[in-house]
């Protein structure tokens, strides 16, 4: 029985199915943890306790929230495109699972060891902007449409510096395989790419905050201007899935940043998986910290930061990296 099971698990297909199931379980739990974490971080920064009433220290609050979201009626606005309206949240969530496949949680714990893992993640995470576009268009609501337009402009703009930053690391390692890139950095703290490519890390992190529509770049859902942006008309689990997808994308970009720049699973004493998760959640904490510190940028500022600063800097970083590599080798 056990021999059969291991045989099935070592088969690529079995391995992938098991990984997908595990990823989905992880995503669900992750949503609950991050909701709690976000509200606690917000609370502590504002010097109040945050959720406190449901369960010890408010630990069961996310479960109560989830219960509320699940039990709410799904409504659809008049004149909305039914197919697009319901396809959007599904389309937002589905690629997330695939994006998790090539992420190297530890030397052994990788869903699918593909040589183009980085490309896979970048390609599939791009689908999210399509989902937001569908949500905005399908809702038949001006706020949703404006939010969707913003989301697309923002995603298109910030994918470029993101790619430029990633390319610098890929040049150095000569691989797009995340496991290989992480492996290269597992020779102690100083081998981490964040020390050789600090600028690329900075660009990557800023661009990933923008890509995940997190504050201060949360223009697509700017609540003070657009009610809730693209998900204005969504209630119950329609909104819940968008929410879950947003948190999952946060984990993805932070996991990619960890694998690319922060040495992946590298760290003393504890097994690699714990180091990897600690770094990922550390970066997510920084994102939350940003959210409760910085006010939202204006749209022209958002695009100025991208086109006038991040892209030129990214190009410069790339050229310098290429020159260095040429001279050294």
């Amino acid at each position: 029985m056990i021999a059969q099971l291991t045989a099935w698990l070592t088969h690529p297909l079995g391995h992938m199915i098991a990984a997908l199931v595990a990823i989905m379980a992880f995503l669900g739990v992750n949503g609950l943890v991050l909701v709690y974490m976000e509200r606690k971080v917000a609370g502590f920064i504002q010097r109040r306790p945050g959720p406190y009433e449901v369960g010890p220290q408010g630990l069961l609050q996310p479960l109560a929230d989830a219960g509320k979201l699940i039990s709410k009626q799904l409504t659809i606005p008049d004149g909305a495109d039914k197919l697009m309206f319901w396809a959007a949240p599904v389309l937002s969530m589905a690629p997330v699972v695939i994006c998790f496949l090539p992420i190297p949680f530890s030397p052994l714990l990788t869903g699918m060891d593909v040589n183009l893992g980085l490309l896979l993640i970048l390609a599939f995470s791009g689908l999210n902007s399509l989902a937001l576009c569908l949500a905005g268009w399908g809702s038949n609501n001006k706020y949703s449409l404006l939010g969707a337009a913003r989301a697309v402009a923002q995603a298109v703009a910030y994918e470029i510096p993101l790619l430029l930053a990633v390319l610098a690391v890929a040049f150095q390692t000569g691989s797009l395989n995340l496991s290989v890139i992480a492996e290269e950095q597992s020779r102690g703290l100083l081998s981490w790419n964040v020390f050789t490519h600090p600028l690329a890390f900075f660009i990557f992190f800023v661009a990933s905050v923008a890509e995940t529509n997190r504050s201060p770049f949360d223009l697509p859902e700017a609540e003070s201007e657009l009610t809730a942006g693209f998900h204005t008309e969504y209630s119950g689990m329609g909104f819940g899935i968008f929410f879950l997808a947003e948190y999952s994308y946060m984990v993805i970009v932070c996991a990619v940043a960890t694998a690319l720049f922060l040495g992946g699973w590298d760290g003393p004493v504890l097994p690699g998986i714990w180091w990897f998760l600690a770094k990922v959640f550390g970066l997510i904490f920084v994102m939350m910290w940003f959210r409760w510190t910085f006010p939202r940028v204006r749209f022209d500022q958002l695009l100025n930061i991208c086109w006038k600063w991040l892209i030129p800097l990214g190009l410069l970083n790339l050229v310098v990296t290429a020159l260095m590599l040429k001279l050294v080798r």
Binding site: F44, R47, R48, W289, F290
Partner: protein, 188 residues
């Protein structure tokens, strides 16, 4: 070059902002966890009014029944009834709601007899708190400081009757509670 310096300054200001929120993150909370904790400083809080007892006798209010609080109240939320000692209780005319200025009230305005000549007994002193605007004119105008604000910040109720407060009964209850507390303290 100038824009570069501006950008670097901007980045520095972001770091300063992050430092401030990080410091706030680790500081202790300053909110009060209401059902479990209550605010300590209620001295300046204006709750509904209450009657102040005599220093010598906690059961008796200081009130000399001059009617000034009733007359001054812009919201007409105080009801006062009294009788002169020796007379039958409740014989004094019920002033009721006085909306017209020409209606005279017994012992009101300048017709108050000096307190040492006729002894009066307070029968009823009620506050309709749902009308009260907490302006404090009754407290300001009381010649003998017989009215004060309570620190009762946590008064809640689901019916109008909750806010029709019998201040005389309240005074007696509190006096009884104080006496009981004193006797237990003495016994201990």
């Amino acid at each position: 070059m100038r824009s570069l310096i501006k950008a670097l300054k901007g980045l520095w200001s972001l770091a300063v902002g992050l430092r401030i929120t990080a410091v706030e993150l680790v500081k202790p909370q300053i909110t009060v966890h209401y059902p479990r904790e209550e605010v300590e400083n209620l001295v300046s809080y204006r709750g509904h009014i209450e009657l102040v007892p005599l220093d010598a006798d906690l059961q008796t209010p200081r009130c000399i029944m001059c009617w000034r609080c009733v007359d001054n109240c812009p919201s007409r939320c105080i009801t006062l009834r009294m009788h002169v000692k020796g007379e039958e209780a409740g014989r004094a005319a019920d002033p009721g709601l006085r909306l017209a200025p020409d209606i005279q009230v017994p012992y009101s305005q300048h017709r108050t007899p000096p307190p040492d000549v006729i002894e009066r007994v307070l029968d009823v002193y009620r506050l309709n708190y749902s009308l009260c605007s907490l302006c404090g004119l009754c407290v300001q105008n009381c010649p003998v400081d017989a009215i004060r604000f309570t620190g009762n910040a946590y008064l809640v109720g689901t019916t109008r009757q909750t806010f029709d407060i019998d201040l005389l009964a309240r005074l007696r209850q509190r006096a009884a509670a104080t006496v009981a507390a004193r006797s237990t303290a003495r016994a201990a």
